[in-house]
């Protein structure tokens, strides 16, 4: 059990700056994020797209913004729990008991949800019966490629993940690569390689096809794939891999007893607190009259929520407002003064 003054859910720009504010005012915090890297939407959806409306930063990409925010956290010691999704938030005496899908648990008076539009999850196949085989013979990521050795593997998708795995697995298995159109969107070198392997009959390429249905009882036996012209082909297959990118899902947040409207959480504008005492929501996921889904609004919301956390984390102390330009306390925390 990890005890902390505040737990931040979401390591996007808002979560990162909120962590900065908490540490600056002398509180501990830890951060959980379902992605395998820090940065949230900025890093997952638009790392290369320029942003023009961060105050005092005329232009920066999602990746640059993330790196700058990480640099700003350098003076502080903050533990990030990546690849973990918060599953449960439960009241226990005066604290919140928070559990992740990896079994990490936290006890904290303050939970700050900086979850954007929710956690990133893999997009799945549409036929319902695919669920039956999920994590047994149908996967959305590869954890152990050894299980595919010598087997028939059908890979769906047209981006780098699908292409890279098609190339890699073609060395030791029989690979079908299925994509909805003739063009691929991966790196050109990989696309060329896939076409070469298809020519050499190392990869069976099916374009303008999509998943039709999966067949088999306890074990997957074959799949039907459907052409744009409705023609159906049956492929014998032991394993199916789908690479359709990530989608944002509100996920377990919906079950924590918060007031949710249109995938956003209602908060007040003094503390950015939800209807549950000690649970705050900041950034794109919060909603209040006049809410703007801008990164700069997230920074403001995080700064205020951090001050509200102080009260619950240090009930016997009084929060004192200070400036980083002049306060010895703050400069010490920032490592600028002994």
């Amino acid at each position: 059990m990890i005890r902390t003054d505040a737990l931040i859910i979401g390591a996007g720009p808002t979560g990162l700056f909120t962590a900065h504010q908490l540490k600056l005012i002398g509180l501990n915090c830890e951060v959980v994020d379902n992605l395998d890297k820090i940065g949230g939407q900025c890093i997952e959806l638009y790392p290369d797209k320029p942003i023009y409306d961060i105050p005092a930063v005329p232009e920066c990409t999602g990746e640059e913004l993330t790196n700058n925010l990480i640099n700003q956290l350098k003076p502080f010691d903050i533990k990030f729990h990546l690849n973990e999704r918060v599953e449960e938030v439960k009241k226990e005496n005066d604290n919140w008991l928070v559990k992740t899908n990896n079994g990490t648990s936290f006890s904290t008076p303050n939970v700050i949800i900086a979850g954007g539009v929710g956690s990133f999850e893999p997009r799945k196949f549409s036929p319902k019966e695919c669920e039956k085989f999920e994590n047994k013979s149908l996967f959305y990521s590869v954890k152990d490629k050894k299980i595919f050795k010598g087997k028939n593997v059908s890979i769906f998708g047209g981006g780098d993940s699908a292409l890279d795995w098609a190339v890699e697995l073609s060395k030791e298995c029989s690979v079908n690569l299925i994509h909805r159109r003739d063009e691929f969107r991966g790196a050109q070198a990989t696309i060329d390689k896939v076409h070469q392997l298809a020519k050499d009959r190392k990869i069976n390429l099916y374009t303008q096809y999509q998943m039709g249905s999966v067949k088999g009882n306890s074990n997957l036996e074959s799949i039907d794939i459907k052409h744009d012209n409705n023609e159906i082909k049956n492929l014998k297959t032991d394993y199916v891999l789908g690479f359709f990118g990530l989608i944002m899902q509100l996920g377990p947040i919906a079950n924590w007893g918060l007031n949710i409207d249109k995938k956003t959480i209602e908060v007040d504008t003094e503390k950015f607190e939800t209807n549950q005492k000690g649970i705050y929501a900041v950034g794109d996921i919060c909603n209040y009259p006049g809410k703007l889904k801008l990164i700069l609004s997230g920074f403001h919301e995080g700064a205020l929520a951090a001050r509200a956390c102080f009260k619950l984390a240090r009930p016997n102390e009084k929060y004192r407002f200070e400036f980083t330009t002049t306060s010895t306390n703050l400069l010490k925390r920032l490592g600028k003064k002994e």
Binding site: V117, F244, G245
Partner: protein, 106 residues
């Protein structure tokens, strides 16, 4: 202004007037039409404003730009007449457009 008809998966027709310059996605969101999530807010980064455009309209509306087809790879049940509604800008020329909304976006 253009009249846009959004047809949801359960065959409900929603006819709304949308201002020129807005996108078909914004027209749906502003009028609370169900089934268009638009998670990324129009950045062509999420494929959750996916619609099917009726055949006769598909060739009339402005063509897809770079990147839209890539995003459509990730959409739920894409078809040959799939578009991202955030990339269709409303003008007098598309008055009367009909789009079908898929059963879900994810």
């Amino acid at each position: 202004m253009a009249k846009i008809t959004y047809i949801t998966h359960d065959n409900q027709k929603h006819e709304v007037e949308v201002q020129n310059g807005l996108t078909v996605m914004e027209g749906a969101v502003q009028n609370d039409i169900p089934g268009i999530d638009a998670d990324c807010g129009g950045g062509m980064a999420c494929a959750t404003c996916h619609v099917y455009v009726k055949e006769d309209w598909f060739n009339k509306i402005p063509k897809k730009e770079d990147g839209e087809e890539d995003m459509l790879d990730m959409a739920f049940e894409p078809k040959t007449n799939s578009r991202l509604s955030c990339q269709i800008v409303v003008s007098d020329e598309i008055d009367g457009l009909e789009v079908n909304i898929p059963s879900k976006q994810t």
